[in-house]
């Protein structure tokens, strides 16, 4: 029980970090990474919910099935987002490094 809770809280931490990066960073690559980290947090929460008791080998199959399909879907979403980001960089006049000047996180550089 305490194990489920610890893993779930870890998932929440990952989700929150990803959400903050998604809002605060303006670079497309960072946004894509942030979405991936958020997805990982959600998967961790789902897996922790599916976990029952050590040693019994029993799991809740419904969250497992969701995570299974979710991983493959998140890979495809990432690929499509990366291609779109590349196209944005190719076709836009402002380069991505200039856009970074508005970024909260890149203030020191």
């Amino acid at each position: 029980m305490i194990t489920n809770m610890l893993y779930s809280l870890g998932g929440v931490a990952l989700f929150i970090m990803g959400l903050f990066a998604l809002i605060a960073c303006s670079h497309p690559l960072r946004k894509i990474l942030a979405v991936n980290i958020m997805a990982t947090g959600i998967f961790l929460i789902l897996i922790a919910t599916a976990y029952k008791q050590a040693g019994t080998g029993e799991i809740d199959p419904v969250p497992h099935a969701m995570v299974l399909t979710g991983i493959v879907v998140s890979v495809s979403v990432t690929a499509l987002a990366l291609i779109l980001a590349c196209r944005v960089q190719e076709t836009s006049n402002r380069s991505l490094s200039q856009k970074q000047a508005n970024d909260f996180t890149s203030s020191g550089e």
């Binding site: 029980m1 929150i16 959400l19 919910t49 690929a79």
Partner: protein, 237 residues
């Protein structure tokens, strides 16, 4: 240097950033409260799954959920994968280097050894999915990894992969899944309500074709564009 540090200080106290931080702290509190109040020992869907396991046609509970009890979800997710490939193919052509670098003989030998093994293991995972952990998504991932291994070692014939056979491979899983779903409407009256005695073979058929499609989808997404001969006929006319 001093102006730089002043700019830093101003950015650190950006009111928008402060608002975002406050909102995120609030959301964290809500989520943590939600997790702390979750009852992990209460009644679960697992009991319902266990009760209807016998009529699903497979022995593995995860596969039963994936393809039978929540088959609707999986059908839509396979369609999402297809849409992703359609999107990627419509944006760019696969960026193969014009003059391929020659990979080292060690790498070529490893690829030659590993690829058949990985394909075999992928189909073993699909077969195993009916009674243990495994299934279409795992098998498809291994198949995709085998294709990625060939892509990164830049085998020369990969550049000229015919797009028609690739399209057939990408479509076979979704089409078979959709065909079975429509067949179920005709025979049983409900979408994805498999006839009970045909459940096992139908699920295996769906899993095998979906694994091929998922593997090819992942490989095409890694290649990052449509093949060389795709959409060229319109240009010639």
């Amino acid at each position: 240097m001093t102006s730089h540090s002043i700019q830093n200080k101003r950015k650190r106290f950006d009111p928008v950033l402060l608002l975002v931080l406050l909102l995120i702290v609030f959301l964290t509190g809500l989520l943590v409260q939600g997790i702390l109040s979750t009852d992990y020992m209460g009644s679960r869907l697992a009991d319902d799954v266990a009760r209807f396991q016998d009529i699903s046609g497979v022995e593995s509970p995860v596969t039963a959920v994936l393809l039978n009890f929540r088959g609707y979800d999986t059908l839509l997710e396979v369609m999402v994968l297809l849409m992703a490939v359609v999107g990627v193919w419509s944006l760019t052509r696969a960026p193969f280097p014009r003059r391929p670098i020659a990979p080292s003989p060690v790498q070529l030998a490893v690829v030659r050894l590993l690829t058949p093994l990985m394909v075999l293991f992928a189909f073993y995972l699909v077969w195993q999915g009916s009674h243990l952990a495994g299934g279409a998504f795992q098998g498809g991932a291994v198949l995709g990894a085998a294709c990625v291994l060939m892509l990164v070692s830049e085998l020369p014939w990969l550049k000229n992969t015919p797009s028609r056979s690739l399209r057939v491979g990408l479509l076979i899983g979704p089409v078979v899944f959709l065909g079975v779903a429509i067949l179920c409407i005709i025979l049983q009256g409900t979408l994805l309500d498999y006839p009970q005695e045909w459940g096992g073979p139908l699920l295996l058929l769906i899993e095998t074709t979906c694994a091929i499609s998922i593997g090819l989808t992942l490989a095409c997404l890694f290649a990052g564009g449509r093949p060389k001969d795709d959409l060229t006929r319109r240009k010639k006319q």
